[in-house]
């Protein structure tokens, strides 16, 4: 049995497998399937300053090897999170990280301040990359100077581990990575969804209500791997990698490219048991290759 423990920015993960924001709810629904203590961590659904209804139905289109969504940060706001949802999360035997979203810098700061008070939540993941809200969201994540600004503003009030989730909808991901590290990010998560579109030729209409939406699943994996690799070479902070991970082999590829921890997103929507299967598969891979620790494969890509 290989050692699966990973430590980043002073946080201990019992294994490198975590679940991506928006693809795991608040974990509640997955308790019907397995013990959440099997996971390295859970990144919970985006939390904003106040209640958001999200976008209109239809919010989803199936696309080749992936899906397009336009959920649009539907959630009941940070007060509801702290009062109703947090009590059910704080004693789970896994790391809980809150995905923080907003439309203005003030909103990000307000949410981060509230989450900072919560015991048992060691980190937030700043979502400056959501393509599904009209104002803000992705806008912060595609211009380096505003990305630095929002990160710095949150850094000033947030005292624990600050992760920032990057958008792939940029010309240079390394430049964006450097910008948020300058702003004070401890860890980088990448990637969020790629902006995409689906059309129904029969009805001659867009498939989702917002016309464009976020593409996820195996279709984006090569882009995500490339970005993790580029960022790994460009900055010194740990990386949480994701984008189209469906199995342990995909997860290992992300770790070889430089991710210390991986997130499973869309795959949870297809196989509710996928995350524990990936934990098992990583262990088998390490044993098969006589590698003593999961840490040993981080960024271990052999480039000749």
């Amino acid at each position: 049995m290989a050692d699966l423990k990973i430590s980043i920015a002073g946080m201990e993960f019992k294994n490198p497998v975590t679940t991506a924001s928006g693809c795991f709810g608040y974990g509640e629904e997955f308790r019907d399937f397995y013990d959440l203590g099997l996971l390295g961590g859970i990144f919970v659904k985006a939390v904003t300053g106040s209640n958001r209804n999200g976008n209109k139905y239809p919010r989803m289109a199936e696309t080749p090897s992936g899906m397009l969504n336009s959920v649009g940060l539907q959630n009941k706001g940070v007060d509801h999170f702290c009062e109703v949802i947090y009590p059910g999360l704080k004693d789970l035997n896994t790391q809980i990280i809150v995905n923080v979203s907003g439309s203005t810098i003030e909103e990000y700061v307000k949410v981060a301040e509230r989450i900072n008070e919560l015991e048992g939540i060691p980190a937030i993941e700043l979502n400056i990359s959501c393509p599904n809200v009209k104002e803000g969201g992705m806008a912060f994540g595609v211009v380096p100077s505003t990305a630095t600004e929002v990160t710095r503003a949150v850094r000033d009030v947030y005292k624990k581990v600050l992760m920032v989730k990057l958008s792939p909808n940029v010309t240079s991901i390394s430049e964006m990575a450097k910008a948020v590290v300058d702003g004070g990010a401890d860890v980088l998560t990448l990637i969020n969804t790629l902006l995409g579109m689906a059309i129904n030729a029969e009805t001659q209409k867009p498939v989702i209500s917002t016309i464009t939406g976020g593409l996820s699943g195996p279709a984006i994996k090569p882009v995500a791997l490339r970005m993790v690799w580029q960022v790994f070479k460009a900055v010194d902070v740990p990386i949480v990698g994701l984008g189209g991970i469906m199995n342990a082999t995909d997860a290992i590829e992300f770790m070889l490219a430089g991710a210390s921890v991986i997130q499973v997103g869309t795959a949870n929507l297809i196989d509710p048991m996928v995350a524990p299967k990936i934990v098992k598969g990583i262990n088998e891979y390490l044993d098969r290759h006589n590698i003593p620790s999961a840490r040993d494969i981080i960024g271990a890509l052999k480039v000749c």
């Binding site: 928006g22 399937f33 209804n53 139905y57 919010r59 899906m67 699943g217």
Partner: protein, 260 residues
């Protein structure tokens, strides 16, 4: 309620007509309690264009043989592949999902279904019979060649029939059937499943006649177990998830805007 992801064995695939078939699936472990109105999410293998699972109502449950049945209408790639399954093949299901039809505190019950929307009504009929309730069925089909299983429904209650082209039963949509011309309606509760337009029309009629009505929605779904928020419908409580708070809703609570 505990949910499972299990491989089922295909033990039967019966063609009803050119567009519909029934899959009979056997579980390797004893089936958990399943309620009428609940659904399964099917993983379609070997089809490059079906990435997500496909949701289907549970058409019938037989605990004695440990099997359940799905009534499937061929729509696109996923259902076409399912239609080619043969005994011995396996199919992975996530189940049982969603809420269920309520148990009525009355014997005067009407079950209304159209097209593949009749699927959950067979199971509901059986379930009600076991509670000593014999419901009436009102089922609508496109034409006579799609009318099927009338004898099966008849085991559980009286069956009224309509076809769009009048080739069998009364002509027209279910809402035009003489059952709905009665005043007052001889029912205390209506359960309905079918195309959105039909459910909306039935729920309006029910409201006009002062009869409580539950509908089973079929919104597009990604997960089917409540985590992606893709399947929402607008209700008097805001956006609710059709796969968790539904698929069965009290029709009076729905806004109907989001479902076309």
């Amino acid at each position: 309620m505990k949910k499972f992801a299990h491989d089922f064995q295909v033990v039967g695939n019966t063609r009803l007509n050119t567009r519909h078939f029934i899959l009979e699936l056997k579980a390797a472990v004893p089936l958990p309690e399943i309620l009428p109105g609940q659904f399964v999410q099917v993983l379609v293998h070997n089809s490059p264009s079906t990435f997500l699972r496909r949701p289907f109502s549970i058409h019938f449950v037989d605990y004695s043989t440990n099997t359940l049945r799905l009534l499937v209408q061929v729509k696109g790639e996923g259902t076409r592949h399912m239609g080619m399954l043969a005994p011995g093949d396996t199919l992975n299901l996530v189940y049982p999902l969603g809420n269920s039809f309520s148990v009525p505190a009355t014997h005067k019950v009407l079950l209304v279904g159209g097209g593949a929307g009749v699927a959950p009504l067979m199971f509901m009929g059986d379930y009600l019979n076991k509670k000593n309730i014999r419901p009436d069925f009102l089922v609508g089909f496109r034409s006579a060649d799609e009318v099927s299983q009338i004898d099966e429904y008849s085991k559980f209650g009286k069956v009224y029939l309509s076809t769009d082209d009048g080739s069998m039963g009364e002509k027209g949509f279910v809402t035009q059937h003489s059952v709905f011309k009665q005043s007052p309606l001889p029912y205390d509760r209506i359960y309905c499943c079918g195309p959105d337009a039909m459910m909306h029309a039935v729920s309006k009629l029910a409201a006009e006649k002062g009869v409580a009505c539950e509908v089973s929605l079929e919104n597009f779904m990604a997960c089917g177990y409540g985590v992606c928020l893709c399947c929402i419908t607008q209700t008097d409580k805001g956006n609710e998830r059709v796969c968790i708070e539904g698929p069965v809703f009290d029709a009076a609570r729905l806004k109907w805007q989001s479902n076309g």
